[in-house]
């Protein structure tokens, strides 16, 4: 699965894009976050505060309990500040 990071999440993790093979027990967004955190630094620090992480699945906003299903692309990013 393709994972994208933006803004300070991208800067802290040190990459904009990653591809991971998901273990089959990882089926929701929150489980994916836990899985990434379990890999240690830099994920464990960058993704530690769940309150400031927004998620999009295939470019649509979703909550943590959303099923990853057949999504091609998941993105993690801080609250947006455009406009």
């Amino acid at each position: 699965m393709k994972i994208l990071y933006f803004a300070w999440l991208r800067a802290q993790i040190g990459m904009a894009e990653d591809t991971v093979d998901l273990p089959k027990e990882v089926t929701t967004v929150d489980q994916l976050l836990e899985f990434l955190i379990s890999r240690g630094e830099p994920y464990s620090s960058a993704l530690a505060d769940r309150n400031v992480i927004r998620v999009a699945l295939d470019q649509e906003y979703v909550k943590g309990d959303a099923a990853l299903k057949d999504a091609k692309e998941v993105a993690f990013f801080p609250p947006v500040t455009g406009g």
């Binding site: 933006f6 999009a56 470019q59 455009g82 406009g83």
Partner: protein, 150 residues
């Protein structure tokens, strides 16, 4: 119509284009947002906008459709830039046209409130001292967007 671009834009040219299209337009409202010289008290030298290509356009188009479904609009334009911008340069433009002024005003305010809280852009400010800070979400923007919820 939604445009996401790096280049600078001319608000006046867009307004003229919108107004020139038909004679049933009574009101055109525009909002232009500019790079300000300070934010939360720190002097700003330049601003860089990162965005999520693909999702940005998708979200802006959804926001435009939502505005068109809530108000009677003859036209609606959203231009949002990304990349690095100098002080005083325009960042974002919303233009709404309608037969009546209330529709045009409310739709433009709605679009800006939603752009601030839903469009996947992130601002990185560079201060005069060379510090680079990611702009923080504002509670006042969230409150403004919440008041449009049914």
């Amino acid at each position: 119509m939604v445009i996401v671009q790096q280049e600078i834009f001319d608000s006046g040219a867009v307004i003229a284009d919108v107004a020139g299209q038909s004679t049933d337009i009574g009101a055109v409202v525009s909002f232009t947002g500019y790079v300000r010289d300070f934010n939360d008290g720190s002097p700003v030298k330049s601003l860089t906008l990162e965005h999520y290509p693909g999702m940005t356009e998708k979200q802006l188009e959804k926001i435009e459709q939502e505005a068109r479904s809530r108000w009677k609009l003859t036209d609606c334009r959203i231009i949002h830039r990304f990349g690095t911008m100098e002080l005083g340069e325009p960042i974002v433009l919303v233009v709404t046209a309608s037969a009546h002024r209330q529709d045009a005003f409310e739709a433009a305010a709605f679009l800006m409130d939603w752009l601030k809280t839903k469009a996947p852009f992130w601002k990185l400010e560079e201060t005069a001292q060379g510090e680079r800070n990611w702009v923080k979400e504002r509670q006042s923007d969230l409150d403004a967007a919440n008041k449009w919820k049914d």
